[in-house]
């Protein structure tokens, strides 16, 4: 109301929009959109301890019966410290870091319009049962293309010996209407 009066509009409530395509009156707040000034924000690392049962559960879900993900002796014979996790187990030990950022109110990500746009992984040291993986996250980029917003998270994961196990880039798209 105040803004309308400053613009010299008559002092009366605007009629409610009759269709979705009508422009909203200025008194209605715009949809929440990501805040690009939060590019570069860091989140403290999350630690994840890799357990045999979780590796087994994940491997079974993706239907992977590779013995190295199930059998300690086979994994050790192949040169691993213990049962090794499938490469994309990365999504399991990274999930807390990702969730923290996606739900960060400062980033203003509208979950109902969120889709996963792209994914990049670079793997280094293998991840084995018993490892403690710390995943730090930085907001790599927030930008708009047309009516789509892109939010990019960059994560770095290291094991308990400070060896890097993963660099990852998670691109999220927030759809327009």
């Amino acid at each position: 109301m105040t803004e309308r009066m400053q613009e010299g509009a008559p002092e009366r409530l605007p009629p409610p929009p009759s269709t979705d395509t009508e422009p909203l009156p200025p008194s209605v707040p715009r949809r929440v959109e990501p805040d690009p000034t939060k590019t570069g924000k860091w989140y403290r690392p999350y630690e994840y301890e890799v357990s045999r049962e979780k590796v087994r559960e994940y491997a079974k879900v993706i239907g992977d019966d590779n013995l190295l993900y199930f059998d300690r002796d086979a994994a050790r014979a192949a040169g691993f410290r213990d049962i090794v996790a499938p490469p994309t187990f990365a999504v399991i030990y990274s999930v807390s870091a990702i969730r923290k950022a996606i739900f960060d109110p400062e980033l203003q990500i509208d979950m109902t319009r969120l889709v996963h746009g792209g994914q990049e992984f670079d793997w280094f040291e293998p991840v084995c049962v018993g490892d403690v993986i710390a995943t730090a996250l930085q907001v790599g980029d927030i930008y708009q293309k047309g009516d789509l917003w892109f939010v990019v998270f960059e994560t770095v994961s290291t094991n308990q010996e400070d060896q890097k196990v993963l660099d990852a880039k998670w691109t999220w798209i927030i759809r327009g209407t």
Binding site: E57, V61, I62, G63, P87, T88, G118
Partner: protein, 137 residues
């Protein structure tokens, strides 16, 4: 022993038909309980015909297929890049295929396709496999 991967060669196809309860198991394993994967009503409200698979489940299948192509050693998979193109659904076959683009000292670069009923689920999908290195410790 890693099979020979030469430029132009195709990797063995992986065909998987996830059952209707797969998204629940993936949600439990991954911690991603977004209801568009689990609740048909919510999925329909979002304009989808029904619940959809987790995109990262398909990424897991791509990793599985490419590690297998490298002979089954997960250390072979060094890098993956992809964009998501289309939603995938349970109870429909997913086909993971790929062809070797080039082979260098660092390894093989493979262009990967993941399709469901002729729809491309991913685009610009590429993995790099390290081959034949002596990894005994």
């Amino acid at each position: 022993v890693a099979p020979e991967l030469e430029p132009g060669k195709r990797i063995p196809e992986l065909r998987v038909t996830p059952d209707r309860y797969l998204p629940y198991r993936y949600a439990g394993a991954s911690g991603d309980f977004n209801p568009i994967h689990l609740d048909p009503d919510v999925a329909r409200e979002a304009g989808l015909p029904g619940t959809v698979l987790h995109g990262l489940y398909c990424v897991g299948l791509i990793a599985r297929a490419t590690v297998d192509a490298a002979g089954g050693d997960p250390r072979a998979l060094r890098r993956m890049r992809l964009q998501f193109r289309a939603m995938a659904f349970p109870e429909q076959e997913i086909v993971i295929a790929g062809s070797v683009q080039d082979v260098g000292e660092a390894g093989a670069r493979i262009e990967v396709h993941a399709d469901q009923r002729e729809r491309a689920l991913v685009g610009k999908a590429e993995v790099e496999l390290e081959l034949g290195g002596d990894r005994s410790s």
